[in-house]
């Protein structure tokens, strides 16, 4: 699988929310695209990640 273009291997199937926690993302400040489709915020717990998935995680920072 890839997260923002960086290859990663997962040994056990995990949820997206667990993966985001492991990778240190602040879930209140991100948007996630999985294989080209946006993952709705309420679905992080129930979205299961496999080694074929491509994830794009966008983090927002303050100021405007």
């Amino acid at each position: 699988m890839t997260v923002n273009g960086v290859k990663k291997e997962i040994s056990v199937q995990i949820s997206l929310s667990e993966l985001l926690r492991q990778e240190g993302f602040q879930t209140e400040r991100i948007a996630v695209e999985r294989n080209g489709e946006i993952v709705p915020r309420g679905s992080y717990e129930t979205t299961w990640i496999s080694n074929e998935d491509q994830l794009e995680v966008v983090s927002f920072v303050g100021g405007g």
Binding site: A31, G36, I38, P40, F60, V61, G62, G63, G64
Partner: protein, 234 residues
């Protein structure tokens, strides 16, 4: 001289920007001809036939609105619940005469002085996960211009999920005094462009400079214009 100024002021008819200090109003045709001195007819048709929404009318959003209006965009929708305050004047499009007024109203006045024929609507409301979908669904382009990162995330997530025809151009990372060259436009998702350095948070940088904020706003406005012209690459 003083008398002259007073006389001219009396002739100013309310909010009609077309008359702004003039005997005769600037016509729609005159504005079109002026833009055609700068664009090809094809570009003019595409831009004037386009619409965009702007969420947040601060340092990014007010300047994006001014740029898109100058560019000749046909239709704008503006959303912000806030009022103009003194700390805004270092980087936002407002001036002292706008202090205390709703940003939507103040900006409408500014835009009408640039193009009195601009079709512009505004909502002085807070954008939430509940109303974002209905606010922005009909707009092909949304410029996200909030300052709070959690609000940015709520808006972008909701619109990408609920508005399948809307492309979002978001501003993220323009605080501080780093080089303007660190600010770029990136296509992060199919329908999400990110403008900014992507990393400098206001909490850490502790300052917002007009120059850097406007560079970011210009990136957002430029990407919006590129989309209107049918160019999807950054």
């Amino acid at each position: 001289m003083k008398k002259d100024c007073e006389l001219r002021k009396e002739k100013l008819p309310g909010n009609n920007g077309a008359m702004e200090g003039r005997e005769k109003p600037i016509s729609r045709r005159q504005l079109k001809e002026a833009l055609l001195e700068r664009y090809t007819p094809e570009m003019y048709e595409k831009i004037s036939g386009s619409s965009a929404a702007i969420a947040g009318l601060g340092g990014l959003g007010s300047q994006i609105a001014v740029m898109l209006t100058r560019a000749g965009v046909g239709k704008l929708f503006l959303v912000d619940f806030d009022r103009v305050e003194l700390t805004n004047l270092n980087r936002q499009a407002y001036d002292i005469s706008h202090l205390g007024r709703l940003k939507t109203e103040a900006l409408l006045e500014i835009l009408k002085k640039i193009n009195p024929y601009l079709e512009v609507t505004a909502a002085a409301e807070k954008v939430t996960a509940e109303n974002a979908g209905s606010f922005f669904r009909e707009y092909p382009i949304l410029c996200e211009a909030f300052d709070n990162p959690e609000q940015k995330a709520i808006l972008v997530n909701t619109v990408l999920d609920q508005c399948p025809k809307t492309t979002v151009i978001s501003g993220s990372g323009m605080a501080g005094v780093s080089s303007a060259n660190s600010i770029a436009t990136r296509r992060k998702m199919k329908r999400l462009y990110l403008c900014g350095d992507g990393v400098t948070d206001l909490d850490e940088a502790t300052c917002l400079m007009p120059s850097r904020v406007m560079v970011c706003a210009a990136h957002q406005a430029n990407m919006a214009i590129r989309l209107m012209l049918g160019k999807e690459e950054v």
